[in-house]
């Protein structure tokens, strides 16, 4: 991740791709971005929706949802056709360029326009401007929320590589890297698997298919779930079937701060602390600074710090030697962080510190080194070839456009019954389903609304403010209509995170499936590679119909 403090000072052009910066990460992707723009940098936004950040763009490209890979390949083809690619960079630092070019060549401007809906002239203009300026791409998750999301991300990264816009101040392709937390800063293995303990390898459950795994796992079935720091019912796809699965458990324990959908279905509900009532460490996944978290106030009511809960449960289950009673959060932190970590510098009243560059360099790949099997930027992903020998899936090693599941192009039959593709944004007033219940937030948000294009509204006799029913074979949601050109025709938007019991929940409408190349069946696995199997959840592959309620 190239540091915002660096790229904002040096870039000439920024593409915000699938990144609703006004919803999350505002300090980097809005404040630093605006500073870059005040210096004269141009802003291109790629997003089907007119987000607040899109409204500030010099050019706003609005591809049909899930066609981002086609857009990137069309840009690559146009750049190469004009000879604007960086030949020297390609030769020195990439692997598989010829194969990429063979794929990109299929994407003439005309075909790109046909599939993405973005006018050919705009694709050409943005491609030329991108190639000929010191350019950044800031990727969000938007284009990744489809079954072809990994291909879109691969194509976007390939665009940067073809132009040599990597590893240079103000020129890089930032995406959601996992950050220093996984790059060796945290010694998770040592804490999770203490020396001297007999630990056997357990099977793995893919969280994107947790509902299905709860229903279908055998030998043994899943019979008990302890749920904390996450929302299983409100936020999972196809909530009705998750609820069916929960009802078959022997027990569900929820550790939560507020009563909501998940606690309603729990057998035991335990009061959780907030982040200001306990110790913690959260290395960012998009910047290089760290401030350790210290308890600010005592745990409120009878809430218990999460560490204390798990340690006490461990002692009661007979693992006392691994959970010393007098251990504080700071003692545990000292086991988790490197021996030379400067605690005093990073902790109240001091801090933050910048993390050592071996965990997160402010200009990654500055030295032309790439952590891949070939040591180069793999436009042909050789690791996928290896993976394909061992696991089923769609291990296409070169970026290409494949229509996504449950979209007009990917499932025309279903689209005849449910013609509207529904995207769910993350509103800036919430973290998914959190904060929704606070009076301040309720006052700002008002009742849940869904965005609907005027043409689609008129065809259904729906007017601004009408109560509407959004439905498909899985569920229905009732909200108010916001009729607006901020969404494209045949597209709707309903924010994620509305509680089912309060109405307007979107996730219950979504089919349970994974994105990413690997086919993991019903979600029970023996082995899993975080980077290569690449699972996310295709929350935006969702077709619905709407009517006046």
């Amino acid at each position: 991740m190239q540091a915002a403090e660096v790229w904002s000072r040096h870039t000439e052009l920024v593409i915000m791709w699938g990144c609703n910066a006004t919803g999350a990460g505002i300090h980097q992707d809005v404040c630093y971005l605006f500073e870059a723009m005040e210096r004269g940098a141009r802003l291109i936004v790629v997003d089907p929706i007119v987000t607040a950040i899109a409204s500030k763009a010099d050019v706003h490209l609005r591809p049909r949802p899930s066609t981002d890979a086609a857009l990137a390949l069309g840009m690559i083809n146009h750049i190469v056709s004009l000879g604007l690619e960086d030949r020297d960079f390609i030769d020195r630092y990439t692997y598989g360029y010829e194969e990429l070019q063979a794929e990109a060549r299929k994407w003439t401007l005309e075909r790109t326009e046909q599939v993405t809906g973005v006018p050919a002239a705009l694709v050409a203009q943005v491609a030329e401007d991108y190639a000929t300026h010191r350019s950044m791409i800031e990727c969000g998750y938007g284009h990744q929320r489809y079954t072809n999301g990994h291909q879109a991300q691969q194509a976007i990264a390939a665009l940067a590589a073809v132009c040599g816009h990597l590893g240079q101040p103000g020129a890089h392709c930032n995406y959601m890297e996992v950050g220093a937390g996984y790059a060796g800063l945290l010694n998770s293995g040592k804490v999770q698997n203490p020396a001297g303990a007999q630990i056997k390898k357990s099977r793995l459950i893919n969280i994107s298919l947790f509902g299905q795994a709860m229903r279908e796992a055998v030998d043994p079935p899943i019979k008990g779930v302890i749920k904390w720091r996450g929302t299983m019912i409100t936020q999972h796809q196809d909530a009705r079937r998750v609820i069916e699965a929960v009802k078959k458990l022997d027990f569900l324990v929820s550790i939560d701060q507020f009563p909501y959908d998940d606690t309603d279905y729990s057998d035991l509900v335990l009061p959780a602390c907030t982040m200001y009532e306990q110790w913690g460490v959260h290395p960012s996944y998009r910047h290089q600074y760290l401030q350790l978290q210290v308890p600010v106030v005592d745990p409120q009511y009878e809430s218990m710090p999460d560490i204390d809960f798990w340690a006490e449960l461990g002692r009661r289950m007979g693992y006392g030697e691994y959970f010393p009673k007098d251990y504080t959060g700071l003692d545990w932190l000292k086991e988790l962080l490197p021996p030379d970590f400067p605690f005093e510098q990073a902790m109240h009243p001091n801090g933050p510190i910048r993390l050592p560059e071996r965990f997160c360099h402010p200009i990654p790949n500055w030295d032309g080194k790439y952590n891949t099997p070939t040591g180069k930027i793999e436009l042909h992903a050789t690791a996928y070839d290896e993976r394909a020998k061992r696991f089923p899936g769609e291990w296409d090693p070169v970026a290409r456009y494949v229509p996504s599941a449950e979209s007009a192009e990917g499932d025309p039959e279903l689209a005849r019954r449910y013609p509207l593709l529904l995207i769910s944004q993350h509103p800036g007033t919430r973290t998914h389903d959190q904060f929704l219940n606070l009076p301040y937030i309720k006052e700002i948000e008002g009742p849940p609304k869904a965005m609907l294009h005027p043409d689609d509204a008129a065809a259904r006799g729906i007017q601004e403010g009408d109560r509407i029913r959004i439905y498909n074979d899985r569920a229905e949601s009732f909200v108010l209509a916001h009729v607006t050109r901020k969404v494209l025709p045949a597209t709707m938007e309903l924010d994620s995170g509305n509680w089912i019991r309060e109405g307007g929940n979107v996730n219950q409408l979504i089919h349970q499936r994974v994105a990413g190349p690997r086919d993991v069946g019903h979600g029970v696995m023996e082995e899993y590679d975080f980077q290569l199997d690449g699972h996310t959840t295709p929350f935006f592959n969702l077709l619905v119909e709407v009517e006046k309620a």
Partner: protein, 181 residues
Amino acid sequence: MSSVRRYSPQEIEELVAKEIPPTGVSLACRSLPTTTTWNNRTVTVDRVVKTSCSHNCYDTCGVLCYVKDGRLLKVEGDPDHPINRGRMCVKGYTYPQRLHSPDRIKYPLLRTGERGEGKFRRLSWDEAFDWLGERLTALRERWGSEALAEYIYSGNREFLAKQISGRFLSLFGASKTVGSF
């Protein structure tokens, strides 16, 4: 051919040294305040605690928490944090209302109604641990330890407690939840 000049590795090293603060040392340059404004009044607080926000947002803001009479009075962005530079988002500012909300789950609760009804009775923590311990033991005897799974994600994305739960689940032999949304 590209028309964009490339920086040499040496130029990049110089640029980082010049534009980015050093690693491993505190970037705090202001002393923590002792007063703040609150509802148009100047209030002297008991203490100000410097911490950070881990609400699954990659800004992971530096935060100053104003504490008075054991309560979180107000939060502000840490002006010395290079990312948020004294600013906060609306969610961050609501935190005193969240932390002290009367609607919080206040003590352990055991279900008494049907699943989904939301009917519970109060337990002590001791009773809650006993209840859970009995069920974990029974589950392991009847089904095997992998019949237990943890559902965790990024509600509080902080990493420390996840390692402690990980230690418990490793020792118990539970199924391991992996992957991402």
